[in-house]
């Protein structure tokens, strides 16, 4: 993580949030760090490989059968002609039938794989298509076990009513398990809401109208029920939630060019604290998809909204109003492109405790999210104060919005652009600054060279002047006292001190 990020206190690096494929969209832990599109592509590749393997296996089996047929045919040569012909015909017809069946099976498998998930498809096939990977299944079963344990622990504190609640909850889950294939999404919702209502009424009667206790118990019941039923009621086969999800995702991708200015979002992303809040808001709304309980999904929306309010408060230095909040939420949704957004909204609407949605704080933020999605779906040129021509050009990708202050025309830092383009923009700006610095260094070096040459010449001139002013007079070297004595070498050696005994 960069030093700057550390200073600002972001604990999640931007690169960790993004799709591992580098497509520029946000990834999801449930999809191994990929965005929904890349995950779908990966899943399709895996399925394609599986189909090819199946095909190869079928071919191998076919060859083996042919070999077996040939061997049986040769061994039956000794039989009478009539019986032989009958036998061979029977075997051949069986083989042909089997081969036809094999081909049909392969064709339907391929068709099923390439066609979009049809709601009218047989139950078996659609179930096969929806089967999650073993790791996801294992993870979900662990979570279910944990929630069940927590629920039992909680009910122990209620003693006798706890046993009754557990019994009713288990009975309801079993009854839903038997009926889920036959019911539409609305009917599933009705069943769950009826159960909530019945349980709530009984609890109110038991707790003598103490609504706080009832709410606490109902929260636990909702958590237990919805964790157990999640796989069968989230984005059910009978609804078109998946189709809506894809439509919304494509719509948001098509609107990648929408800038902060177009939506009049009162947020300055250059401020570190604001930038942090925006990143946290995006993380929260993406995280919503990984939760199973409607209340937990709502909590993610509320947390996202709180971060948005904080970003606006820091930017404007005053509390935000709904006129500030809604456009900022729209911007966050466009930036995050949350996975399975419509499915999550529908799931919350169908299976959340209705009183929480109608009046509470979570309900307020959820309503704003619904408004944001509705706005995105209906968004047009007028909504962004653009001319219809500009809007069409941006939507078709023929042009992209330009910065008013930048002649180069790079998209705004706040706008949702491809990270690669952002990186290129950053690199170019770094290169241009390096070029300027290099130019300055070259100019400095040249001036230094000129100064050094001039200094050298001035020193030489000064030396010359001094030499001319003070001419060099070489005097004879001073000699030693006995310098003229030429026979020094003939002199005896100096006397050595001698020691006498005595």
């Amino acid at each position: 993580m960069s030093q700057r990020s550390e200073r600002r206190g972001i604990h999640v690096d931007q690169s960790e949030l993004l799709c591992k494929k580098g497509c520029g969209y946000y990834g999801n832990a449930a999809w191994q760090g990929l965005c929904s599109k890349c995950w779908r592509d990966e899943y399709q590749k895996a399925r394609q490989r599986q189909i090819q393997d199946d095909w190869a296996l079928a071919e191998k089996l076919q060859r083996e059968e042919e070999a077996a047929y040939v061997s049986s045919h040769s061994s039956s040569q000794t039989q009478p002609p009539q019986s032989h012909s009958q036998h061979s015909l029977a075997t051949f017809s069986k083989f042909e039938e089997k081969k036809t069946n094999e081909k049909t099976r392969k064709v339907t498998t391929v068709k099923k794989f390439f066609s979009p998930s049809s709601r009218t498809a047989p139950k078996k096939e659609s179930h096969e298509a929806k089967t999650p990977s073993p790791s996801i299944t294992r993870q979900s079963s662990i979570e279910t076990d944990r929630v069940s344990r927590d629920f039992v622990e909680f009910l122990k504190t209620l003693h006798k009513p706890g046993r009754e609640i557990h019994k009713h909850s288990r009975a309801f889950i079993d009854s839903m398990g038997n009926k889920k294939q036959d019911l539409s999404a609305e009917e599933l919702s009705e069943c769950v809401q009826d159960f909530y209502q019945g349980m709530s009424d009984r609890l109110l009667n038991h707790f003598k109208g103490s609504s706080e206790k009832v709410d606490r118990v109902m929260d636990q019941v909702e958590k237990y029920i919805m964790t157990r039923l999640y796989k069968s009621v989230f984005c059910p086969e009978t609804s078109d939630d998946e189709k809506k999800d894809l439509a919304t995702q494509h719509r948001i991708r098509a609107l990648h060019w929408v800038t902060i200015q177009m939506l009049c979002v009162p947020v300055e992303e250059e401020i570190p604290e604001v930038s942090d809040s925006v990143v946290k808001a995006i993380t929260d709304i993406i995280e919503m998809d990984s939760k199973r309980v409607p209340r937990d999904k709502l909590a993610c929306i509320t947390s996202c909204s709180k971060h948005i309010f904080n970003a606006i408060r820091v930017t404007k230095n005053e509390p935000a109003s709904a006129d500030d909040f809604l456009p900022t939420l729209i911007y966050i949704v466009l930036k995050a492109n949350p996975p399975r957004l419509q499915s999550n909204i529908q799931y919350i609407t169908r299976f959340c405790n209705p009183s929480r949605l109608m009046t509470g704080e979570d309900g307020y933020y959820f309503t704003n999210l619904c408004c944001a999605v509705a706005f995105i779906e209906k968004l047009d040129a007028q909504s962004l104060n653009l001319s219809p021509e500009d809007f069409e050009r941006y939507m078709s990708g023929q042009a992209s919005p330009r910065r008013q202050d930048d002649p180069a025309g790079w998209p705004q830092s706040g706008s949702r652009v491809n990270p690669v383009l952002t990186q290129i923009q950053h690199n170019l700006s770094v290169l241009s600054s390096l070029e300027k610095r290099q130019q300055q260094v070259i100019e400095g070096a040249q001036s230094l060279e000129a100064e050094l040459t001039e200094w050298q010449e001035s020193v030489a001139r000064e030396v010359q002047e001094i030499l001319e002013r003070y001419p060099l007079d070489i005097k004879p070297r001073a000699s030693a006292i006995d310098a003229e004595n030429v026979e020094n070498d003939r002199l005896p050696p100096p006397l050595q001190p001698q020691v006498f005994a005595g």
């Binding site: 709904a322 109608m358 009046t359 619904c370």
Partner: protein, 242 residues
């Protein structure tokens, strides 16, 4: 009055509608911050939870920008009261209530109460320029606003008669009988979020009026069954056991 806790579940909701810059959020802030300490706000100023006696009332702020026209109906779903807000110095803001916002209230409760509020009265009315007293006593709703001064600070574009006429049209739109409904004199307010003039009167009148709605809602949920008795199989339209 004891403080409401954030975990408390609201009994009813009140929605505030109106054009951009009429002062919806300012009204909420004036009411919640000036005097009442038992009100919980989010970090923003868009959602408030108010304890009124033993009941909890949530107040929802809405986006008034024209780009978001049509989204207001989502906010109004199940609302017990709607505050239609306009700016007394801007005739267009009153017209917008009828043209844009009135149809959004179709999703509100059948017995929804409507209040018509002209904000920024301090710009036209010398009485509204005086800050409201900080007394804790319940202020009485003002029957009628004082006559605007001869030389106002700013020209008053919306008269009280215009507001009363619109209130009558709101009742007609909702298919309500004017004789049986609350009188316009009681449900049309002129306020100043800046000085606090008439703000308490507005909210307290409204909260008192939504109490029957809360009681009705609570009484509907009173026919309960003992938890100890075996759970009877209750068939729904879907044919599922509860």
């Amino acid at each position: 009055m004891r403080q409401a806790t954030r975990t408390k579940k609201p009994d009813v909701k009140v929605v505030i509608l109106g054009d951009m810059n009429v002062g919806k959020t300012s009204l909420l802030h004036r009411y919640t911050e000036r005097k009442f300490k038992d009100t919980i706000s989010t970090v923003g100023g868009a959602f408030f939870l108010k304890q009124w006696g033993p009941y909890n009332i949530s107040i929802w702020d809405t986006a008034g920008r024209e780009q978001f026209h049509g989204l207001g109906s989502m906010y109004c779903r199940g609302a017990a009261a709607v505050i239609l807000t306009y700016d007394v110095t801007n005739w267009q803001s009153l017209a917008e209530l009828e043209n844009r916002f009135l149809s959004l209230t179709d999703t509100a409760n059948a017995d929804c109460i409507f209040a018509l509020v002209g904000n920024k009265a301090d710009l036209t009315d010398p009485f509204a320029q005086e800050p409201d007293s900080e007394s804790e006593s319940d202020p009485q709703p003002v029957a009628s606003c004082p006559t605007p001064p001869a030389s106002p600070v700013q020209h008053k574009q919306v008269s009280r008669e215009d507001a009363v006429a619109l209130y009558a049209r709101v009742l007609r739109y909702k298919g309500l009988d004017e004789k049986t409904c609350l009188p316009a004199e009681r449900m049309c307010f002129e306020t100043s979020a800046k000085t606090g003039y008439n703000v308490d009167a507005l909210f307290e009148t409204l909260f008192d009026l939504v109490l029957p709605s809360i009681l009705k809602k609570r009484s509907e949920g009173e026919a309960t069954v003992d938890l100890e008795t075996p759970l009877e199989v209750r068939r729904t339209k879907a044919g599922c056991c509860a």
